[in-house]
Symmetry: C2
Subunit: 186 residues, 2 copies
């Protein structure tokens, strides 16, 4: 799992570096731990923002938070903060022995995007995969173009297409890894 | 959809009234709008907390936020703040002509809880249903006992069972209302 803060789109479509949102770290770390994700890469190039992220993580992994809430520590232990995607890929390669394939996500319909079924099969492989979510108004096209795959958007029946990244991560993980009786009983 | 702040469980199992979390309102309103939910009842008995919730909502529905982010306004328009469940049920009855059936959610396995398939069928009825999520450590048993149904927990394969309520709402809505190719292509 990766959460990208640069390059992402701003409100008017320009490429920006976004700021850290505290609850992104909490909610995505907790969902990652729930669904068996092996690492959560927080990619953030701005030094001051990266320091804030680091301080939040230290609070929960080794500071007072780790003692007051051990479950939160377990999920925050998945977080690795990286200045760019190359560092994140290198870190995963060091952990697993292989560079991961990259799977970008988008709220938009993009030509050639893969289905949830295909993605489910992909991530069942022993080789590592990195599922990437963008903050702000989503992953910038120049980054998207360099990813190996793009996953289809969540798309509900409604025309309202403005989930938080925290919700989107949770839903996509449940679709890709979750098991419930829709899949097993019917 | 309802988000319950009382009676819910505290860290040590006592019944408490929890505080408002700003991003609960945002994320759950956005997910509700995405999945076609008709109203989002925020149930909170403490006067000062209810005023905070009201101020947040007014910022996005009629204040500066409504002009800077019209999409956010559309989702916040679903929110109704109520001091207790009776007010929430009355409000829904005024809107729809019927008192809704109540469906409680829990992170724990509880005897007699209904499957996602059963719940999907239930909410396809023309009669209103109210899906209730607890804040803090979840809905208190004395409240749960009075609900018409309890939905099975999300339960992933992992033993880590600590999703945020924001994630839980998103996943449950996708399971109950979402459509993607697992359901339609195969």
């Amino acid at each position: 799992m990766a959460l990208l803060h640069y390059p992402v789109l701003g409100k008017t479509g320009e490429t920006i570096a976004s700021a850290i949102t505290n609850l992104d770290l909490h909610d995505i770390a907790r969902a990652s731990k729930t669904y068996g994700v092996q690492s959560f890469q927080v990619i953030i190039p701005l030094d001051d923002q990266r320091r804030i992220a680091q301080e939040i993580c230290e609070h929960w992994t080794s500071g007072p938070g780790s003692r007051s809430n051990p479950h939160r520590k377990t999920s925050f232990d998945l977080i690795q903060i990286s200045p760019d995607i190359e560092s994140a890929l290198n870190h995963i390669c060091q952990q697993t022995g292989s560079f991961p394939q990259t799977i970008a996500t988008s709220a938009n319909i993009i030509d050639g995007s893969i289905s949830y079924t295909t993605c489910r099969q992909l991530i069942q492989s022993i080789e590592p995969n990195l599922l990437i979510f963008g903050t702000a108004w989503g992953i910038a096209p120049e980054f998207m173009d360099q990813c190996d795959y793009i996953l289809k958007p969540i798309q509900s029946q409604s025309s309202y297409n403005h989930l938080s990244v925290r919700s989107a991560v949770s839903i996509v993980l449940d679709r890709l890894v979750g098991t419930f009786e829709r899949f097993t009983d019917h």
